[in-house]
């Protein structure tokens, strides 16, 4: 009698794959809008043409630019004017320490941010100066000289004090770029920083209250509390995260989340940190997976040989 098993196997596999393709790749491609990555080129922002002078930039940042009125630069000895909770209550969100801004953010983005924050951050739908809705960060209107040159100098200064790109760790990139709005509970990260170990519950609760006060101010500023990002690596895919970080408006038009303006390298590190939180065991999964596959293939071969031996007497 003709052996029909190969044909049956083909039919079973074909229908299974067809069903899989329909409910997974195809259905998801219909349900989720596809956004192309622009490779963090920020093509809508004007390039920085002037060569900046860091020393002059430092003078501007500390002086006429008035950056240090709100921003700390701990690397250069400038402490924050007020604590994070008071800062959030004043500005909506704690203004970042600029020590490593030059390593995390794109130069074009920094230049535009200094001149026109709402535009650089893509939050003009929220902050329209014509309607009196000012962005909490005051734009730099120039210190009397060539404004393009002055901006380039300030950017050069920020880059000169920042860590080198290869010293920027995934954790640092995340904390700098995301961590003042987003908590990451599974990494013990709050909007105020890494929660310390406290000896007494009273101290721990006091810290939590500080976080809650910060979050209250933040929620008022953003419309809702930005989500905890512990599991975002699993609940969103890598491509979504990357294009969302590049331009939140492309995936979620009207969102209050600003464009962060991170460099491609920093974005990559941010996502790596999110993977470290949400998919901690990925390396173990790969290596254990390989060993199990080898074991199970050997098992299948032995099972096949045993069947052949038993069935030799049956035909």
């Amino acid at each position: 009698m003709k052996n029909k098993e190969p044909l049956i196997l083909v039919v079973v596999v074909a229908f299974t794959l067809l069903t899989y393709w329909l409910v997974e790749p195809y259905a998801h491609s219909v349900m989720h809008k596809h956004v192309e990555s622009q490779n963090f080129a920020y093509a809508d922002l004007a390039p920085v043409t002037k060569t900046g002078d860091a020393a002059n930039g430092k003078a501007l940042v500390m002086g006429a630019g008035a950056c240090t009125g709100c921003h700390a630069i701990t690397k250069d000895g400038v402490a924050a004017g007020m604590d994070a909770v008071s800062a959030a209550q004043s500005y909506g969100v704690n203004p970042p320490d600029l020590s490593n801004a030059g390593a995390v953010y794109d130069a074009k983005f920094l230049a535009e941010l200094i001149k026109n924050p709402a535009h650089a951050l893509k939050v003009e739908h929220k902050f329209d100066a014509a309607k009196g809705q000012m962005h909490p960060m005051v734009p730099f209107f120039g210190a009397g000289g060539d404004m393009e040159q002055e901006v380039a100098d300030m950017v050069a200064y920020l880059q000169s004090i920042a860590v080198k790109a290869d010293e920027l760790t995934p954790k640092m990139a995340f904390e700098e770029a995301c961590g003042r709005c987003h908590s990451m509970k599974y990494e013990n990260w709050t909007q105020l920083g890494t929660k310390p170990e406290f000896k007494f519950e009273k101290e721990s609760l006091a810290y939590d209250i500080q976080v809650l006060e910060y979050q209250e101010a933040l929620a008022k500023y953003m419309g809702k509390l930005p989500p905890d990002l512990s599991m975002y690596f699993r609940s969103r895919n890598e491509h979504f995260l990357s294009t969302f970080i590049e331009n939140p408006q492309s995936q979620l038009a009207g969102t209050a989340m600003p464009r962060t303006g991170v460099t491609a390298d920093a974005a990559h590190k941010v996502i790596e940190h999110m993977a470290d939180a949400g998919d901690t065991k990925r390396a173990e999964r790969e290596s254990v997976g390989k060993m199990v596959m080898i074991y199970i293939v050997i098992f299948a071969i032995f099972a096949l040989l045993w069947k052949k031996q038993v069935w030799r007497d049956l035909h």
Binding site: L9, M31, T280
Partner: protein
Amino acid sequence: MAHFTKATSVKDWLNQRLAVEKVEKVMASEYWIPKNINFLWAMGMILAITFALLLVSGIFLLMYYQPDVKDAFYSVNYTIMRDVDFGWLWRNIHGVAASVVFLIIYIHMFTGIYYGSYKKGREMIWISGMLLFVTFSAEAFSGYMLPWGQMSYWAGMVITNIFSLGGLHFDGLVEWIRGDYVPAQAFLTRFFMLHILLLPLAILGLIGLHFAALRIPHVNNQDGEEIDFEAESKKYLAGDKVGSKVMRFGNDFLSKDLMVVGIYLVFFFYLVFFNYGFALDPVNFDPADGLKTPAHIYPEWYFLWSYEILRPFSVNIGLMAFGFAQVIFMLLPWLDRSPNAVPASRRGAFKFWYWLLLIDMIVLTAMGKLPPEGVFSTIGLVAALGFIILWIALPFITMNEKKV
């Protein structure tokens, strides 16, 4: 009392008390299986193995899972996925097995339909199998609630709402099932109980019934041949292994079962380690939030076809169609009026009915996931109507089937 003699060996000792030799004969060496069967007959063993994987992985997960709306998500995604050594492995095995078990159930079911294995004394096999399908469905749904993610919460909301029965407005019944107005602590705890106790008990009992139902009519074969098991087994035992039409379950057929299981496990563990996304939906990695409805709410893939029978109609008609779809498979042995217990390929019009049903259910599955807009709604409506028409037509097309 029976007469006991001094035992000559451990086996003899056990034999006098438990009749182990007799049990071994009944269960394995003299449990006769036709020789003319193909690998589709190994799906039962694959299901048993997958169920064992679910049970074992479930026991490990149960040691760390917390059925509390405040802690459930954390206990799954932090404690099990990060803290506990190899917790991720047990969860991946559990999640993938829960999904793959339905693929095998569907293959097993459609094998039964194709070869007419629900006819001529095999009705109880079919019915106990369909009861297993229903309890497995309930088990899968209750398990899906436990991580308390967005899809757990919203699928729980949507599915329990079905019990209001549309225009009948049995809202009190929905509240009774939930134990609250919305899915909350009472809801989670009772689905936890169902998932780890009541439903597994029912499944174990039904598996026993399913096996028992197989004893008297024996396993069907791929040629629809009526085999005289008595005569053929005598031939086998007399030494004519080649000439006999039957073989022992153990180790003759068992060796083939194990070969198919081996190949299946290669596929299964590939999914566990390298392609588990289909079974662990990304949306469910967002914690449950009653104030934030996901853009797309859909059940797991194995429920999509019946979901799509509910969806394209107005509420009351949809519910009637859904109810129809839930019970109609159970009635198959009586809706099929033909006396022929042979493969569908030799049954004329039934052959077309079989392939149309299979394709219709795949179309329903696809449309159940896609958003109900534009052409997808139309295709879904046609496929849902097609499903109902096919089942209504079944008695008529099988009534006049020629005896083969």
